[in-house]
Amino acid sequence: MEGSFAGLAHGFDVALAWHNLIWCFVGVVVGNMVGVLPGMGVLSTISILLPLTFSMQPVAALLMLSGIYYGAQYGGAICSILLNLPCHPPHAVTCLDGYPMTKQGRGGVALGITMLAAIIGAAFGIGQMMVLAPYIASIAFKFGPQEICALMLLGLLAGSTLAKGSPIKGISMTLFGILLSLAGTDINTGNERFTFGYAELSDGFELVAISLGLFGIAEFLKSVNSVSLAGVKNVRLGFRDLRPSRADLRQGLPPILRGTVIGSLCSLIPGTGPTIASFIAYAMEKKISRTPERFGYGAIEGVASPEASTHSAVQGDFIPTMSLGIPGDAVMALLLGALMIHGIQPGPRLIIEQPDIFWGLIASFWIGNIILVVLNVPLIGIWVKLLMVPYRYLYPTALFFVCIGVFATRNEMFDVAATLGFGAFGYLLLQLGFEPAPILLGFVLGPRLEENFRRALLLSRGSMETFIDRPISAVFIGISVLLLAAQVYAAVRKMRAPVKLPEEAFD
């Protein structure tokens, strides 16, 4: 611990050096803009800016590039909440309650609570990085295929009732999401499945394409046909309306703390990044809520928890990347590559050999996050005013950026077509009363479940006992069984209870 603080003091020396500070500022501001604009992805921004850093000092380069990554998370929630456009996958789940809040004229409150969630989540993530980085190996290494598989199973079970309305519909959508995730190359055999001869499908669908299609475009198709343009009309813009009230805070704080913990745990398990973290956080929040029926209709917990989880996972994600040299996702892989271009090898000796990099980065996280909050809180009012732009201008513009953004993820037109296809499909689902959210859950968790299930069986030479032989995995399996049992018990009790009027039909 003491070593951590001495290191951090050194880190602040590095990060506050004026030219490092300036690059950190540039990074978070660019990141923030990238997050807000539907058309830009973090990955493409960093890879575009990477060549610029060749002539920079490695520390400054890293501070700037990572600033883009966590800065983007601050902006990422804005389109999700205000326009139902999840341009950044970790914030997709924020749409579920964030957009209804906007429709109720509480978009500013949602953004406010997002900021609070962001800073608390990030602070925890950074603190964890300071304290845990040297011990990361012993924690992360407890999660083998069996544990990850069991965890994903738990996540899917807990999340299958993610959506509002009929549980059967929710579960079927989860399964459909898993089905969609099967398209692409099977890691275990190398075979292509459900690609129908399209090389573009060999790595499966892009998550961005699915989430933007199912949420953003489907919502657009629904709204252009409806008479009233909900969300644009009843926006109150007084300063008071933009600030979460005391009641909001009281309601939002516990979910923020829970989300933070879930996010930081997920970030420690390599390959389980912010997106998975935010879904699990939302699912858990709804599961433990006394009033799960409010979720999906603008429950503030449904915004607070996944947002906190995303931010803590984003910061925590740096731990395995820096201290193990194992990137958690594509952005981290790129940052790792950037370090290597600067002749720095991340790995267990990074903290000792390159204290400037490691502690400078951590100190810059503190500085960067504070800059972001200071920048964003006054901006909330401006973002909300965005909704005053007439729908006929706002939405086509947003769609235009969406198409560019989807294209830029992989430079493939195919993904743009897929987005539009999913949009049409999502519209159909909405008309039939199916909620699209569980599709994303299945799509995100399903492949990790399958991959690790088969890997575990490969290692155990086919013995299923492997899942209960190992303590952590046994615990997850145990909770899953309890969850299922509780579900069945509740269903049975409901069947015996007197029949209620079918209120949900008017949903």
Binding site: L50, F141, I187, S202, A330, A333, L334, G337, G347, R455
Partner: protein
């Protein structure tokens, strides 16, 4: 119209074309040159391409930009480059999947014999066999002895089906007639993690990402698969030294243009690239990034491709991998 074409006009037109072509090469590059990398940003080819793009831009005064076209194990990007207009404004930096995939996939969107004009073999990184220290082995011989003593007991991880590292593991199995269960991961990093956490006791990996862990003593390097030992691991023998003549598998990084790219542009690119690679400072930088500089010109690269395609094909067939 064509019937009325006189011989003189034809000659003039041809001469005109030649003038246009050489003028193009003289002014090359007049607009940004796209270097296609058929993988996501951050991988070895991407790093190599970005380093090269930087130096090519500064030396030619043009602008070389990297464009990632990931997917299908590198096939999509290679196909994009193969179909691009051969005007010198679309180039390709690819690695070993270029020569592995034609034997691994039922169909690839390029013809390795026809679609590319080789420029330079830039650099190469070997693969490495590593073990978890707790497994208590120090050499390939130890590994083989363990595998023979208790057949089917050993699993080895890799960064995915058909990667040169995986195929190196299969090659070892073939040479020794041993059984080891292959456990593929989605990336080399995750494969490395599997052996770090002792999910599998051994792994076959691309060397550069594993190097810090080897140096930190968290992984034991059994042997590297390069022609020579790796400069930073002087103690670790090559597979050839470990008693397997001809066991050389590596991950090369190659620079290609679409076939029929004007010769003048090809010459210019080759000359500039070789100059860059011969700069000792740059070679040192690339070594730190995990690449041993090769700097093999068009003829050498063509031979390398001609040799490697059948080499991988044989290995894939013998190891019984199904085409995907």
């Amino acid at each position: 119209m064509i019937g009325n074409f006189t011989r003189r006009e034809a000659l003039l037109t041809a001469a005109g074309l030649i003038v246009v072509r050489s003028a193009r090469a003289a002014g090359y590059p007049e607009r940004p040159v796209k270097i296609v990398v058929p993988f996501a940003p951050g991988g070895p080819s991407d790093i190599m391409a970005r380093v090269m793009a930087g130096y090519l831009s500064s030396r030619t005064g043009g602008s070389f930009v990297v464009e990632n076209h990931g997917g299908a194990g590198g096939n999509i990007g290679a196909g994009v480059a193969a179909r691009a207009t051969p005007d010198g404004y679309t180039l390709l930096i690819h690695s070993s999947p270029l020569v592995v995939n034609p034997s691994l996939y039922k169909k690839v969107p390029y013809d390795i014999t026809k679609d590319f004009a080789p420029l330079v073999e830039l650099g190469t990184s070997p693969n490495v066999f590593v073990a978890n220290p707790a497994f208590g082995i120090k050499s390939i011989a130890d590994l083989v002895a363990r595998a023979k003593a208790d057949p089917k007991s050993i699993s080895y991880a890799s960064g995915g089906i058909g990667t040169p590292a995986h195929l190196s593991g299969e090659l070892l199995k073939l040479k020794e007639g041993i059984e080891m269960t292959h456990v593929p991961y989605a990336s080399g990093g995750l494969g490395m993690q599997a052996v770090l956490q002792n999910t599998t006791p051994v792994a076959a990996l691309s060397l550069p990402p594993a190097l810090p862990m080897i140096k930190a003593g968290q992984l034991v390097a059994l042997a590297v698969t390069g022609k020579t030992r790796w400069p930073e691991l002087p103690q670790t023998p090559t597979m050839v030294e470990a008693g397997y003549p001809g066991f050389v598998t590596d991950n090369f990084q190659v620079f290609l243009a679409p076939a029929k790219t004007p010769q003048a542009i090809v010459d210019l690119l080759v000359k500039t690239t070789l100059e860059i690679l011969h700069d000792p400072k740059i070679a040192q930088q690339l070594l730190a990034d995990g690449f041993e500089v090769i700097a093999n010109g068009p003829a050498g690269l063509q031979k390398r491709i001609d040799d490697d395609v059948p080499m991988w094909r044989d290995l894939i067939e013998k190891s019984g991998l199904e085409k995907v």
